[in-house]
């Protein structure tokens, strides 16, 4: 086989035009937080370009600390909708631009060859109608796969209201599909995006879910069944734009995880971009800490065996900002503690504040060899400043005072501001 390296050079004028478009359409796409490039199983089998089998790779990080893994752009920011929270809404006075299919393909391939990106995340404003837009997105993915032999990662946005046939085709070329429900409650959606209906978001989501189920069952019988969205589907909610509390947000999230087999739900702190009085004012802070607490809760649900109602319920409708949700749960459930590190089961170990799943596995392995004491636990890397109030180990030093939740919280907060200065011996001298 003879391989020829593409040496495409843009004529001067067209280079400047591409540059201009890229600036506009990357800027408009940046509020979509998903940048995941993992979970696909697309191997380089054709001696073509790219491979999406491994874990995701963040090739760079923006100055706001977010991962840059994919070329994340809109095909166009022309849009027929007028959703208040969205920067590309029809009524917003901004520069508009649109890429041609081939332009997106060239950018993706040339960025990929230089190891800048893991692949493409293509979204779009809705022009003409849902199907017309979805068709263009699918065309880009199809061209990358069939003409360019591209095996990198492709994430396509499912356009609300797109037909089943197009969603079927999209999944054949894309690794991940996503449709953003944006506003956690239907009433909020009605207020901020009167043109949009919840069922328009749900329709493509259901189609993709069913196709994935079908693909998985057919694959068991016929190995060569063409892949369908191997990295699954995800969605995103905006936080702090429409007054929902954390309980409502996480219930919605839980609902989507359970009923649509989503891989991920993303939470995006609202960045004020509009003078619309229905929304937080321009210049008000992005709720980043709240966003972080929601992600922690999401992790507790997906990896730590928590039920959403244990963390958020009618009595506790909002997450604490000063402490993490697991610690908050533990303080409300002191009757479950202390537990013995050397005998407790995995479920309870995962519930100890200051223990991540990595530490849990290390403890489960290490305690087969000997009983673990504070020194072992410290070396394994658990956060003793939080964990010490909830555990016993092979030592006669342990918390003997009957501390209230408030007291423990006070100690932990006091300690965590100076956790880098204090050594373990100082922390242990707290026991008395």
């Amino acid at each position: 086989m003879n391989f020829k390296i593409q040496t495409k050079i843009y004529p001067k004028l067209s280079f400047q035009r591409i540059q201009e478009k890229l600036k506009i359409l990357a800027d408009a796409a940046k509020y979509d937080v998903s940048c995941s490039s993992s979970g696909s199983k697309r191997a380089n089998t054709n001696k073509g370009l790219g491979d999406a089998t491994g874990m995701g790779i963040c090739h760079s990080y923006t100055e706001d600390g977010r991962c840059v893994s994919l070329l994340k752009i809109l095909l166009t920011n022309y849009c027929i909708f007028d959703c208040a929270y969205c920067v590309t809404r029809k009524s917003n006075d901004i520069k508009r631009a649109a890429f041609k299919v081939q332009e997106v393909v060239d950018l993706t391939i040339n960025f990929y060859r230089r190891n800048y990106i893991e692949g493409l995340f293509l979204s779009s404003g809705i022009f003409k109608n849902a199907d017309y837009t979805m068709e263009r997105l699918v065309a880009v993915a199809k061209k990358l796969r069939l003409e360019e032999n591209f095996n990198g990662y492709i994430h396509l946005k499912s356009i609300p209201g797109a037909s089943d046939e197009l969603m079927r085709e999209a999944g054949l070329y894309a690794d991940r599909l996503s449709v953003n429900i944006e506003i956690p409650t239907e009433s909020g959606l009605k207020k901020l995006a009167p043109d949009k209906k919840r069922e328009d978001f749900i329709k493509p989501m259901v189609k993709v879910k069913n196709e994935i189920i079908q693909y998985k069952s057919e694959k068991k019988i016929i190995k060569s069944t063409p892949k369908y969205a191997p990295a699954g589907q995800s969605t995103q909610m905006i936080i702090g734009a429409s007054g929902e509390n954390d309980f409502q947000i996480m219930q919605t999230s839980n609902h989507f995880y359970k009923n649509y087999n989503l891989k991920r739900v993303y939470y995006s702190g609202y960045v004020p971009i509009s003078y619309d009085e229905r929304l937080p004012k321009i210049g008000s802070d992005v709720p980043m800490l709240r966003e972080n607490r929601l992600y922690q809760t999401d992790w507790l649900m997906r990896f730590y065996g928590f039920n959403v109602n244990e963390i958020l319920n009618d009595k506790h409708q909002n997450l604490d900002l000063d402490i993490d949700p697991k610690l908050s749960w533990a303080l409300r459930n002191l009757h479950e503690f202390p537990i013995d590190i050397n005998t407790a089961d995995k479920r309870m170990l995962a519930r100890v504040p200051g223990l991540g799943m990595q530490s849990v596995y290390k403890i489960l392995n290490a305690r087969r060899f000997r009983k673990l004491n504070w020194e072992h636990l410290k070396k394994i890397g658990i956060a003793l400043n939080r964990a010490q109030y909830f555990i016993l180990c092979d030592s006669n030093q342990f918390e003997t005072r009957d501390l209230t939740s408030e007291k423990i919280k006070g100690f932990i907060l006091q300690n965590s501001t100076s956790k880098y200065r204090k050594s373990l011996s100082n922390q242990l001298s707290l026991f008395g």
């Binding site: 843009y10 990357a26 370009l49 090739h59 760079s60 950018l107």
Partner: protein
């Protein structure tokens, strides 16, 4: 009895041959040292170890039968860290592994934990290089990247790049260790290159690099800027993810 120093040639096979020697001669008080940075020490006896593939393979096979896959790759990764004295921690680990089953799971053993931690650092560096390598297209159609990793990670990133860039010629060159990998569309070879005395690896010089290279670097920088959200600026987090020592080879971090 005098302490013995075993001097090996710096290769993994050489190190395993030294381990073989330790077991063969049942030496207790011993230190394994890399011949390239060994210093004369008083009150100890030096012995030079020849690298022997057969012996190295026997040790490696034995380890693999005693350890999980993770355990044996921890040993290799930790070796590539080139940290001073790591050979002796490895030897302690290996001795423990031959005497106990599943030793690699014993995170309360000091050497096991230490090696797991070093392996993690090397693994992190490997992952960083898979992320931070920036290819630049040369005039003769080869995608070229230069790196200066903290650890000797070229051997463990080879597979990743070979699988991924199967249809383009590429070179990844470790400036610190003076060798590189070259993929010619078929196999990957280890190469040594001579660069002009005034060659600046951080600059893209039009004498060597293709015209389109400048355009795509520009587009990538534009993209990098446009995708940032100013109201969320967090430089502390940014620098934690992209430590400053890597900036000089990242196209997006070059001054305009």
């Amino acid at each position: 009895m005098q302490k013995k120093n075993l001097i090996y040639d710096g290769t993994f096979d050489g190190f395993l041959s030294a381990v073989f020697y330790v077991f063969e001669h049942k030496i207790g008080d011993v230190s394994i040292r890399n011949g390239f940075d060994v210093q004369e020490t008083m009150f100890s006896e030096n012995e030079t170890i020849m690298s022997e593939e057969a012996k190295a393979n026997r040790v490696w096979k034995g380890l693999k039968s005693k350890l999980s896959a993770q355990g044996s790759y921890h040993i290799y990764y930790a070796f590539l860290s080139e940290k001073p004295g790591v050979e002796n921690v490895l030897l302690d680990y290996i001795r423990y592994a031959f005497e106990n089953t599943n030793a690699d799971k014993d995170y309360s053993h000091p050497s096991v934990l230490k090696i797991a931690q070093i392996a993690k650092m090397v693994g992190r560096e490997k992952h960083r290089m898979e992320a931070f390598v920036r290819f630049r297209l040369t005039k003769d159609g080869i995608y070229f990247a230069s790196i200066e990793p903290d650890f000797n990670v070229l051997p463990i990133i080879l597979k990743h790049f070979k699988r991924r860039y199967a249809d383009q010629k590429w070179v990844i060159y470790d400036i610190k260790r003076h060798y590189g990998l070259f993929y010619d569309l078929d196999t990957v070879d280890i190469i040594n290159m001579d660069f002009p005395a005034n060659f600046d690896f951080t600059k893209t010089n039009s004498d060597y690099f293709a015209d389109q290279e400048f355009e795509f670097q520009k587009l990538w920088k534009d993209y990098f800027k446009a995708t940032n959200i100013k109201s969320r600026k967090n430089m502390k987090l940014h620098v934690r993810h992209v430590p400053k020592r890597y900036w000089k080879y990242l196209s997006e971090k070059q001054p305009d």
